[in-house]
Symmetry: C2
Subunit: 327 residues, 2 copies
DNA sequence: TCAGGTCGTTTAATCGTGTAAATAGATAAG
DNA sequence: CTTATCTATTTACACGATTAAACGACCTGA
């Protein structure tokens, strides 16, 4: 057992009786060496338990084989699902993933990017606020999650189509009077979801009330009051978290879904399927979102000149117990 | 604007008219230089937008300023809360955090450790299965989360006391016939929770039935049947996720909590407080768990000889709507 | 005045890889 | 047999930082 530090490329070279360059060539799969030498070097490397020093490699090549994954928060059910997928795919490509939350603040996003840069990530997958100003020149390539972003590769669900799906399903169930808990419209995905809904519903359903809410499971007083007025047969929510908040308010007010009012979510996060919640929703393929973003980022790292790509993934309706045919 | 690569320590040195060593001394806060030179160097560094190349530093010093955070999964409400705290604290110490999930399998845990080693983490915070075999000699320092682990620093809640609290509260509410959804006993925390409960309840409540379950929100048939037999006034669960599964079964079976039976969780994960769930539970300080673990790890990185430390954090009872005085 | 001590700064070696360029050895061509 | 052409391998330097050791300037006390 080699006491002290772990073996270096030179140790391997010495034991194998070749030069360190040869070892490097072998271990990087540039096939520049005889099969015998190749086999020998690999055997010795394995025997010594050699493992490449990433810092040295990074120093020499300028690539760290680490990517970042910037999300607004981890304490929400949707984002970890994405993070997990990013990580898994990155690992398959030999990259580690630095998951980091931006705390939802656009100012912090810029700080987070700098932090990641300091730690030498090669690029990042990020869910960015549209107001985010990307540095010029960009510090590292970024793939935008959840929304298009000018100048960046992006991967996102078809929010607009999702909004339409919602409206169509609502109408199919006979709902004509609908209340809406929409997200603040500066967030692209919130905007598109609403727009899809409104376009599809135009002239055929009445939007009785609408309240903009933050994407957290607590509702502002205005929303609570609106729900309690009992003027609508369905509440369409910008996402599942908000839908759950709506369900909570219903329960507190002695009402229930879908008996008194139907509730419609968006995302299909894991918990939406729990019997206690049992939420009808629009499913976006969270895991695929993450893995495709990772793919896109890595392909970008390999070719900086490739034209910007925008990947739109389809959404589907998931019908559960929180919605019902009207009256 | 310096076209091309980003400025190095030498660029700063040249512009400031000093040697690169001086710049290094300044930027590392070893106070070896005159105040004037110090100020000058800092100014120049800022002007050039200099940022230290972490790879080079890591190569020279053998420290990467990255720690790992190994958790069974991110798609569970408890773990991201811990991860977030670890990350925050690590960042305060100048470390980045590589969050990585081990997928709950002890075999994968060892692979994950190797992966982290490859990416050069200096140490890790990890929630390990007791069967995990740590390499000898250890590749890097690890702080064990959630349970003591022989030879490692550890931080965990006082599961045993939590179990006792549960039992005492149950008895205070008059419950005498209790069913238990306990975790598999090879997991230390599951074992201790159960043991605390059993010890405190000994002779005073009847454990009518008990089923070992995995820590996920789906129950095995045996558990479902047990619940449906309606033989108990309270179901004590190994954690909140399982408690929610129990609530689901109740709902599916036309029963409800606390009307037909009280349900008791453990963890106080974020969602336990949602009105829809409203779970009485034992709270473990998740965020503190994470930040203390990060502290412990970093102190270990600074002093490898320090004796192993075992930090036990107190738990508290959180009474909500899923439990009631027995009819 | 000079030996010795302090202090601030520089010189130079080093960390472990990657890789362009040099080299040696073998083969082929003329 | 000489020369050119490959090919497998090695030599040697660079990447950007840290840091021990060398250095020079200044001060101090005898």
């Amino acid at each position: 057992m080699t006491r002290g530090r772990s073996p270096t490329i030179k140790d391997v070279a010495k034991v194998a009786g070749v030069s360190s360059a040869t070892v490097s060539y072998v271990l990087n799969d540039l096939n520049k060496v005889t099969p015998e030498v190749d086999a020998l070097v690999r055997r010795v490397a394995k025997e010594l338990g050699y493992s490449r020093n990433n810092a040295a490699r990074a120093l020499k090549t300028g690539r760290n084989n680490i990517i970042g994954c910037i999300l607004p928060t981890l304490t929400s059910p949707v984002f970890p699902e994405i993070a997990q997928a990013v990580q898994l795919r990155a690992e398959a490509h030999g990259y580690a993933t630095l998951v980091i939350d931006s705390g939802n603040a656009p100012m912090r996003e810029e700080k987070v990017v700098r932090t990641l840069a300091k730690h030498g990530v090669d690029g990042a997958v990020a869910l960015l606020h549209p107001k985010f100003k990307l540095a010029d020149p960009p510090i590292f390539p970024i793939v935008s999650l959840d929304a298009k972003f000018p100048g960046l590769d992006s991967v996102h669900a078809d929010h607009y189509a999702g909004g339409r799906l919602m409206a169509e399903h609502a109408m199919a169930l006979g709902h004509r009077r609908i209340g809406m808990l929409s997200g603040f419209q500066d967030l692209t995905s919130s905007y598109e979801r609403r727009q899809g809904f409104v376009d599809a519903a135009a002239g055929r359903v009445e939007l009785v009330w609408e309240v903009n809410v933050h994407l957290v499971p607590q509702l502002p007083p205005a929303a609570v009051e609106a729900i309690r007025r009992r003027e609508v047969t369905m509440i369409a929510c910008v996402n599942d978290l908000v839908a759950i908040a709506a369900l909570s308010v219903l329960k507190d007010s002695g009402m229930s879904a879908p008996g008194d009012v139907s509730v419609f979510g968006f995302d299909d996060m894991q918990w939406a399927s729990w019997p206690l919640i049992d939420l009808t929703t629009i499913r976006q393929p969270l895991a695929e979102l993450g893995s495709r973003a990772a793919d896109l980022l890595i392909s970008r790292l390999d070719d900086r000149q490739r034209p910007v790509e925008d990947l739109v993934l389809p959404v589907t309706l998931v019908e559960r117990g929180s919605t019902a045919r009207v009256g």
